[in-house]
């Protein structure tokens, strides 16, 4: 039995989250196949073939896979699930959208957001916003799993030499149609892959202040920008900036939380960062309980100082 990992991509580039999912698959110890379902996705198939540890790349290239709709992807994965003991995807918005559908079609449980592999049937996953870690064992014949990217260091994107096979497409389910996407454009690193993250909270007060204060600091540090839910809800920044239980889960080398109180739902998304800095004017803010370095100060005063001093 082999392991099938679903590649995350935009028809041109393989997303790095795939490398974390492959890393989880490596721990399971069988042959790894990478599924690339897309449209005009040859370049992705080639990048997939270079990923260390992958034996085979299976490519399903059809117009109805271009937009990665769950109905079509799940039908395809279900049709080709035979012979696989495990089906994995990164716990990205795509993976979370599609894989439970696959699990239900196979009549098996899904194991969401794993952070460790104990053995081929047993996995560790956070529950209650990361306030507890559950070790769960699956009794199903096929394990359908989403992988929390911060739990597994990515495998190398190069060095592999997998064979590429073409896979028959499943029929178009014709149930969902993409009307449009508004993708946040940014020259900064992606939140999930950034080494440094500057994150701002409600205290910034406006989108203008957020940009004026945090962008120059992020520029100096080559950082990605993140935010608390309160900052997103208030419209300071787009939704995809949100870090937390229900936003992005990140674990950079350095996370700087600015004007963020440290609600458990926010901590759930960043407490595995290597070094945490908190800047908050309230000495009792809960964020200080997880911060390696805390600075009790008014952010409007110290952020310009910090940016200037770097």
């Amino acid at each position: 039995m082999s392991i099938l990992v679903i590649a995350e991509h935009d028809n041109a580039h393989l997303k790095t989250a795939t490398l974390n999912a492959v890393a989880a698959a490596v721990k399971l110890g069988s042959e790894i196949h990478l599924l690339v379902a897309g449209s005009g996705c040859d370049a992705v198939a080639e990048q997939a073939a270079a990923v260390a540890g992958v034996a085979k790349v299976k490519v399903a290239d059809a117009a109805h896979y271009a937009d990665q709709t769950a109905e079509n992807l799940a039908a395809l994965i279900h049709a080709h699930a035979g012979g696989y003991s495990h089906i994995l995807a990164a716990a990205t918005s795509n993976g979370k959208n599609t894989l439970p559908r696959v699990a239900a079609l196979l009549d098996v449980a899904q194991i969401s957001d794993i952070i460790a592999v104990e053995d081929a049937d047993t996995f560790v996953r956070p529950i209650y916003a990361g306030n507890a870690l559950a070790t769960v064992k699956s009794a199903d014949a096929v394990k359908v799993i989403t992988v929390r990217t911060t739990g597994f260091d990515p495998v190398s994107a190069v060095g592999g030499s997998a064979t590429i096979e073409t896979l028959a497409s499943a029929s178009d389910q014709g149930q969902a149609r993409l009307i449009g996407r508004e993708i946040t454009k940014s020259a900064r690193p992606e939140l999930g892959a950034a080494k440094v993250i500057i994150s701002g909270g409600r205290a910034l007060g406006s989108g203008e202040a957020y940009r004026q204060l945090l962008e120059p600091l992020a520029d100096k540090l080559g950082a990605a920008l993140g935010a608390s839910r309160a900052a997103v809800d208030a419209g300071f920044v787009p939704n995809d900036y949100q870090v937390g239980q229900t936003g992005k889960i990140v674990a950079p080398q350095l996370y700087i939380a600015i004007g963020i109180s440290g609600a458990i739902q926010h901590l759930a998304g960043m407490k595995d960062s290597k070094v945490i800095v908190a800047i908050n004017k309230d000495p009792d803010a809960p964020i200080f309980q997880v911060a390696d370095y805390g600075l009790v100060a008014d952010l409007f005063q110290v952020i310009p100082e910090l940016t200037a001093a770097l």
Binding site: A132, A134, G180
Partner: protein, 252 residues
């Protein structure tokens, strides 16, 4: 058009949960319970669609212990018309819940099911997608905007995705799961809480629906995550930079 809103009773989001000393799970004794916040958003959305004249009936359904009745009463107080409880003391995992909901959909024949994208206890984020798969329906997860066009037979949903937003048009019937920014749920008023007590609430058992709810996953143990200890306070920006450069070595 009828809308079904599945809701889950979970530990209130403000509660800091404790792991049981024997590692068997979370200590739920005397802990405040509430409706899963994402499900409140789902109820609110369905009720708003009814108020806008798009939806004719909102049916709330919950699967679990008898106390889920309270959660259903909350949904009724927020504006749902009827409640259905699938009562069981068994541990329910997302696949089992999706199967129960599929059976309820078979009885109720709604055009739309709106439910929370995840429950804040098991953080699984599966039930809606599984239900859509079992029904062979279309799905839109992580919704931040829902526009129903019943006459045309479709629903247009804006979704929060990793890179930003995406808008899908789904054929009805469909399953939609809610994200945080879809709406801000109202509070139940006292008169509505009183009225909710008189609204119909039906109770069924999984056996009545012919659904096998046996769990597929066994929890071997539950532990606390490694604790992060609070570090040090720095006096000023200069000391912060010094620490980051020379102690943590995370900036050059």
């Amino acid at each position: 058009m009828k809308v079904l809103v599945p809701i889950k009773r979970v530990v209130d989001f403000n509660v800091k949960v404790r792991v049981k000393a024997d590692g068997s799970g979370i200590d739920l004794a005397n802990v405040k319970m509430a409706m899963n916040p994402f499900d409140e958003i789902a109820v609110e959305e369905a009720v708003r669609q009814k108020e806008a004249g798009v939806v004719t009936e909102v049916v709330a359904v919950s699967c679990g212990v008898a106390a889920c009745q309270e959660t259903l009463r909350t949904a009724l107080a927020l504006g749902a018309d009827r409640g259905v409880l699938v009562e069981t003391d068994a541990e329910l995992q997302p696949l089992a819940v999706a199967k129960l909901l599929k059976a309820i959909v078979g009885k109720e024949a709604p055009q739309l099911v709106i439910l929370g994208k995840q429950a804040i206890d098991d953080d699984a984020n599966q039930t809606g997608q599984m239900l859509a798969a079992l029904l062979g329906w279309s799905q839109a997860t992580f919704a931040s905007k829902v526009v129903i066009d019943a006459a045309a037979g479709h629903v247009t949903v804006t979704r929060e995705i990793d890179g930003g937003l995406e808008t899908l048009e789904l054929k009805l019937p469909a399953v939609v799961t809610t994200d945080l920014r879809l709406n801000e749920p109202r509070y139940a008023t006292l008169p509505n809480i009183m009225k909710a007590k008189k609204k119909p609430l039906e109770t069924l058992k999984p056996e009545d629906l012919g659904v096998d709810v046996s769990p597929r996953l066994t929890t071997l143990k539950v532990v606390e995550p490694p604790k992060r200890t609070a570090g040090v306070r720095v006096a000023d920006v200069a000391q912060l930079i010094d620490k980051l450069k020379n102690e943590a070595k995370v900036i050059p």
